[in-house]
């Protein structure tokens, strides 16, 4: 039962894969930045005292986190136009991933916010800072440092979710890989190279996050 690996076909289309990877990274970058903003707002709502803000935030997080992202992707792309919101497929995927990652990042940030000692906020109040100044100068910088390790793994798994954009024909890495499969049927080789690209990218992301962590580490 011999199957001989032959990568020639993969290398011929390697630039397609690289192009796909680049798009994956762009999708992830834009979506995760928006997602982080959503997550931050939600996190403040989750830890803030007022139930008026907390309840909807909780609902958002619970519902979104328990849905397969594929369903969300199909919803944004196919149902929103029927409700009058028409986005092209890249914008619609980015929006979906942003909304989805918002729910995950909200949880990460919430834990980070809770780990900022209350005394520091009070010290900020005591020198006359407003609550907003305390958030931007004290709470967020410290929260970011606290969450970096878990942020890193969340960002990596959200990056991997860009592979699902293939379902609405966004030509990112997985889409290109499947396209090459249909053309050459060198499925095993294509997936080996593709996963190597994903693993390498995630390793680089992780290393970058560790570098950021070291960079922001407080002198002891």
């Amino acid at each position: 039962m011999g199957y001989t690996l032959n990568f020639a076909a993969v290398w011929r289309s390697f630039d397609l894969l690289l192009g796909g990877l680049l798009l994956s990274l762009q999708l992830a970058a834009v979506a995760l930045v928006i997602g982080a903003a959503i997550g931050l707002v939600l996190a403040f709502a989750l830890v803030g005292g007022s139930a008026v803000l907390r309840r909807p935030a909780q609902l958002y997080v619970t519902v979104i986190r328990n849905l397969p992202i594929l369903v969300l992707i199909l919803f944004t792309y196919f149902a929103l136009p029927q409700l009058g919101v028409r986005l092209d497929k890249i914008a619609s995927f980015v929006l979906t991933l942003a909304v989805y990652s918002g729910a995950y990042l909200a949880e990460v940030f919430r834990a980070g916010l809770l780990s900022v000692p209350r005394g520091l906020k009070e010290a900020g109040l005591a020198i006359g800072l407003t609550p907003m100044q305390i958030r931007t100068s004290i709470v967020i910088p410290l929260m970011v440092r606290n969450v970096l390790p878990s942020l890193s793994s969340t960002l990596i798994s959200l990056f991997k979710d860009t592979s699902l954009a293939a379902a609405i024909a966004v030509p990112e890495l997985t889409f290109e890989a499947r396209k090459i499969n249909v053309e050459t049927f060198r499925v095993i080789e294509v997936w080996m190279v593709t996963s190597a690209l994903y693993v390498a990218t995630c390793a680089v992301l992780a290393a970058l996050m560790r570098a950021v962590e070291r960079r922001l580490a407080l002198p002891k």
Partner: protein, 226 residues
């Protein structure tokens, strides 16, 4: 307008009734995939976590490599790899087996990492106090470290379980007739995409919400009074 809506709803209800058995079977397959892969993945993950913490240098290095590669690969790619790569070496797994294997591997890497974190977070004083009353390492692990680590990993483990349920959708790609493929089959017959995708989404939400509740319940039950 109003009639149209009722009409659509009636049509959907009718199609739903026709498809009930197929959906139920799909749900059953999704649940079995999830249970099997969570079970196998957790057992393997516990071994992995132990190796990552207490193994010698070489073992730790190997396991770290395994964990990082698995965690860096999209699950879809793992699923396809498991289905095809084993047949090149003559081990012919069916799509269900191959899919469960891929998910279990994915699950194990997560459980391994979680357990490693939990074990390393336990204060060294716990091990020392156990040693001081004469417990061997095995006894220390079984009576002191494991019960504490277990309580700590429970919430994250529940999250991983929910992830596995969601990841089971990817087995549709290699032809396992789980809930999403069943849904797609139904849609390819009656072309009611939105309705049935959302119904599937709703079912997934129910499963995961159930898992979340169950996790909270077990957490409360095993909480240590303080």
């Amino acid at each position: 307008m109003h009639d149209l809506l009722t009409n659509d709803l009636l049509m959907f209800a009718n199609e739903l009734w026709i498809a009930r058995l197929a959906l139920l079977k799909g749900l059953g397959v999704t649940v079995s995939i999830s249970l099997l892969s969570i079970l196998a993945g957790s057992v393997a993950g516990v071994g992995l976590g132990l190796g990552l913490v207490y193994g010698n240098r070489l073992l730790r290095l190997l396991l770290r490599g395994y964990t990082d590669i698995v965690r860096g690969t999209p699950v879809l790619v793992l699923v396809l790899a498991s289905y095809y790569i084993f047949s090149t070496v003559g081990l012919d797994l069916g799509p269900f087996q191959a899919g469960v294997l891929a998910l279990a591997v994915f699950c194990s890497s997560h459980v391994g990492e979680i357990l490693r974190g939990a074990l390393q977070a336990l204060p060294a004083g716990q091990t020392e106090a156990a040693k001081a009353i004469g417990l061997t390492f095995g006894q220390t692990f079984a009576s002191v470290l494991w019960p504490q680590a277990l309580r700590q990993i429970l919430p994250t483990w529940v999250n991983t379980a929910a992830e596995m349920v969601k990841a089971s959708t990817l087995l549709s790609v290699i032809g396992v007739a789980e809930l999403l493929l069943r849904t797609q089959e139904i849609i390819s017959r009656n072309f009611m995409s939105l309705e049935f995708y959302f119904f599937a989404g709703f079912l997934y939400f129910l499963i995961n919400f159930g898992i979340e509740r169950l996790g909270k319940f077990v957490e409360r039950k095993t909480a240590v009074p303080s």
